[in-house]
Structures are given as C-alpha cells and as structure tokens.
C-alpha cells in the first residue's frame, strides 16, 4: 500500500505554545482516517500543516511519498475551518471559478459536482443568501473538484441537517469504495465518524496519543463483563481453569474484563465464588467510540 501522508515529529508552536507537538502519523492509500480530539487538541492545526496553510515550526510532512508538497497538493481537496467561499458569486460561479483555478475545468465537471453534493436546485443562488448547510455542501463540492486522490475534511458535517449528514456520509463512503479516495476527517459527531472511518487517530493537547484501526477499535469496544474482584490473579486462574477461556483482560488491581460468557453471568459468579474470588460488582459493558474516547481522555488526564 502506498503512503499518502507521513509526518515526522511534526510540531507547530504559536508564541511558544505547542498546538501540535511531535506528531508522527501515516495515512495509507484508501484509508478513511478519523482525527478525534477535544477542541484545541490540535486537529485543525495538523490539517492546516498538511494542506500548506500553516508552516510547521519543526518536523516534516511527506505527501504522496516524497513528492514536492506544492505539486502533491494539486491532488488534494480541502475543507478547513468554515466554508471559504466567494460570498458575492453564485453557487455555480464559485464552482466555475475554482475549477478553472484548479486546472480541472471541463464540460460537465461543475454539473457533476452539483449533482454529487445535492446542490443542483440551488446552483444559481448567491452564496450570501444560502444557509450554512448549503455553504458546507458547496465547500465539500469544491474540495471534490477534479476528483482528488486525498481529501482533508475538517468538521464536514457542521451545519448539515440529519438528511445532509447521511448524504455526505454516503458520498464519502462511495468515493472511498469506488475511487479509492483517501480521506482525513475530523468531526465532533463521533458516531457519524465511526460509520465511515477505517482508522482513528486520537489527539490531546497537541499529541497524537493513540492510533487504531477499525478492527482494533471494535476489539477494544466489544461487549464484555466487567468484574470488580478481590484478587485479579485468582480471577484470571478461574477464567482459565474453571471457565476454560483465555478471552479476558486484567485491567488493573481490581478489575477484570471477560469477553466470553457475556450472557451467562450467573455461571461466571458461581465459578468465581467456587475459586475463592469475591465478586464486588459485575457490569455488562460495550464501549461505543464515544465511550472509548472519553475513557482514553480521562486516562490521559490521570497520567
């Protein structure tokens, strides 16, 4: 698989404050990489550095495997911060102008984009008379001009109604599946992101604290029984010998997660008691992306 983005110790400082601090990340062709983090975690700054809108203080960005970034950026489409559109031109004129600037103006290209983002009926509306949702759709449309190989979308669902969110999600999935378009996306709507992402990068205070594939996240977030026990070593032995499973995880000195026997809690309690383990608490849990994110952020704060 070819590398679309690789960063080496990428850092951006504003007046001594590191908005992005030593980030090493790589995005492979065909990935839908979700960048997740709280406000001020450094997601937008990282995206700005990738798109050439901000110069790194130190570190390196390699796009499309060592090609000159200015040249490589012709293969990228971006939506960073709020939609940056020419407010006095119409929807169609914005697309016509940007398609000429991007060197992808050809017969039918603007209509194709209008169709893709569902803006055909509003093509002749002047931008300043359109809603935020329409602006957002057009901004995504501009990013899609010329069918770029790599899309950077910062909060693309902002301002969209539920139908719009669904349409954009379907569009991103289609682009990824049919054209192998690589996508870097950030969003506060974690559940929405989890419906399209294939990889996740979690950011906090400028650091990329964890990267996971979809499979790894599913593994981490799958349903289990969380037991508070008197002795985790004994509980582990009970799992292996009495219950005959290795599919468990000792979280800390008190807690054990058991991924089997999820619907047979009585059997688990009986085995634990028979093995001399007191069970103080037993909860059936299944972490959503949101729960995983919250737990990860809390754990990081405690560190």
């Amino acid at each position: 698989m070819s590398n679309i983005v690789k960063t080496k110790a990428l850092t951006k400082k504003y007046h001594g404050f590191a908005a992005v601090d030593g980030v090493n990340m790589s995005i492979e062709k065909g990935d839908v990489y979700a960048l997740i983090g709280e406000n001020g975690a450094g997601k937008s700054t990282l995206m700005k550095m990738l798109s050439g809108l901000a110069a790194p203080t130190s570190g390196e960005v390699i796009l499309f495997e060592n090609k000159h970034p200015e040249v490589a950026r012709f293969r990228m489409g971006c939506l960073i911060d709020s939609p940056a559109l020419d407010s006095r031109l119409t929807v169609r004129d914005n697309l016509e102008m940007f398609s000429r600037a991007f060197g992808c103006h050809k017969e039918g290209e603007v209509d194709r984009i209008l169709e893709l983002v569902g803006m055909k009926a509003n093509a002749n509306k002047v931008i300043k008379k359109t809603s935020l949702g329409m602006k957002q759709r057009l901004a995504i449309g501009i990013a899609l001009l010329g069918s770029p190989d790599f899309l950077i979308l910062d909060e693309p669902m902002n301002g969209l109604d539920p139908m719009g969110i669904q349409e954009i999600r379907q569009l991103l999935k289609k682009l990824n599946a049919e054209n192998q378009t690589t996508i870097l996306i950030s969003s506060h709507l974690l559940d929405e992101v989890s419906k399209v992402a294939t990889r996740y990068g979690f950011m906090k205070a400028g650091h990329l604290i964890q990267e996971l594939s979809n499979e790894e996240l599913e593994e981490k977030s799958k349903t289990c029984l969380r037991l508070k026990v008197s002795d985790t070593a004994k509980a582990a032995m009970v799992c292996e010998k009495e219950l005959g499973t290795n599919n468990y995880e000792v979280i800390d000195a008190e807690y054990v997660r058991l991924f089997d026997y999820v619907d047979e809690s009585a059997k688990v309690v009986t085995a634990m008691v028979r093995g001399g383990v007191e069970v103080g608490e037993m909860v059936r849990v299944g972490e959503s992306l949101e729960e995983f994110f919250n737990n990860l952020m809390t754990a990081r704060e405690e560190q």
Binding site: R73, D93, A101
Partner: protein
C-alpha cells in the same frame, strides 16, 4: 498560473460588482463633468485648448477614475480575504506569489475599463454640452489620453493590490488604501514645500500619476511609463520578499 489568471478573470466578469462599478464610474464621471461646469458658472468652453486642458485636469483631480477604482478594489478583494476564499487556492498548491501575479492582469484590466468609461463620458459631455469639436485631432488626443491615463491608474492599481495582498486583512487594507488616496498626495506636497523638494515626491507617487498626464500632450509620457514599471517591479519584489511567508489564517 495560467489557470489562476483564468479564474481571476472569470470572477472579474461574473461578479456583479464589476458591472456596478462601471455604471458607477459613468455616473460619477457625468457628475464630475456637470460639477465642473457648475463651478465655472457655465463659462467652461472645452473647445478652447487651454480650457480643455483645465477641464481634463480638473476631471481627474476629482478622481473620476480613482474613486471607482478604489471602491471596486475594496469590493473585489474584501470577498477574497474576508471570506478567506483565497486559502482554497493555497491549499491546492497554488503559490501565494502566483495568486498575487494572477490578480495583477485583472486589476490592470479593471483600471483600463474604468479609464475608458470615464474618459468616454467626459469626452461625450465635452462634445455634446460644452461644444468641443469632434475631429481626427481630438480623437487622437483622446486615444493618447486614454492610454496614458490607463497606465497612470494602473500604477495606483498595482499599489492598491499590493497593500491588500501584504496586509490580508481587508478592513485594514481598505482603510490604508483610502487614506493613501485621500491624503497621500496632499501630505507629500506639504513635505515637498517644507523641504523645497520640487515635485520629487509627488512625481513618483502612484495616486498622483493621473494628474501628470496632459490632454494636449505636454507631459513626459516616458516618465509615466517608467513610474508604472518601477511600481510593478518594487511591488513584485515586496510580495516575493514579504508576502509569501506566514500562515494563512
């Protein structure tokens, strides 16, 4: 670069503001002509060579082209920097210098179009109302005057664009350009008088160039071209040195 120039011209000709500016220039030029006649108490006779020279000098003195040029620039560039649409070009690998140089032919074209409209209105008023004789000599003089005024206003246009590009905050750039137009020439004249510098400062001042063009041809047209070329070179250098670094906010 070629693509970016095409995009800039697309915007220029599809933005209603351009056509409103041209209509505004026509109205403003007519207003200036009527006002000049009113000030002269109806005695303005543009068929007289000296009166014609004074008429055109006053016509440009009231910024018949410069005010519409500044207003159109404010409208055109405010959207680029206030709406931040220019960052989409940068994010697609178009260099910042490339962005600036693609706007140059655009704003120069605007200066030519506005000069054409203003001089046409001024000449039409002179012929119809003031009794100017329209003949081959007048046609040649008008053509020469139009070409030199286009260059003179082009010099100011280059400066206006450069201020926008270097500052990138449309409100600040618009204010600076307006102050330069309204008070620049006056301030430089005062300095020249105080220091006995002749016209050393206003002679090279971009916003004063239209006043150096003579209708009858008694001007140093080479100097007007040299000043234009010097502004073009100096502003390009300033953009390359100071305008291509920093983050796009």
């Amino acid at each position: 670069m070629k693509n970016m120039i095409r995009a800039s011209f697309y915007k220029l000709f599809h933005d209603k503001a351009t056509w409103i500016s041209l209509a505004g220039t026509a109205a403003w030029s007519l207003f200036v002509s009527v006002m000049l006649t009113w000030i002269a108490d109806g005695k303005l006779n543009a068929s007289d060579a000296m009166a014609a020279e004074k008429y055109w000098r006053d016509f440009m003195g009231y910024h018949a082209v410069m005010v519409p040029l500044l207003v159109s620039s404010i409208v055109l560039f405010t959207s680029e920097f206030k709406d931040k649409s220019w960052k989409l070009f940068v994010a697609r690998g178009i260099s910042r210098a490339g962005y600036y140089f693609s706007k140059l032919p655009c704003i120069l074209t605007l200066a030519v179009m506005l000069s054409f409209v203003a001089i046409t209105i001024g000449a039409a008023y002179g012929v119809v109302v003031l009794g100017m004789q329209f003949n081959a000599i007048l046609a040649v003089l008008l053509l020469r005057y139009f070409m030199l005024q286009s260059v003179a206003h082009g010099t100011a246009a280059v400066l206006i664009l450069t201020v926008y590009f270097l500052i990138k905050v449309s409100e600040v750039s618009s204010s600076i350009n307006t102050i330069l137009l309204m008070f620049g020439t006056m301030a430089l004249s005062k300095i020249e008088t105080a220091l006995s510098l002749g016209d050393a400062l206003t002679g090279v001042w971009a916003f004063a160039q239209p006043l150096r063009v003579s209708f009858a041809g008694a001007d140093d047209w080479i100097w007007i071209l040299i000043v234009f070329a010097a502004y073009l070179a100096a502003c390009s250098l300033a953009v390359i040195l100071f305008g291509v670094r920093g983050d796009v906010e």
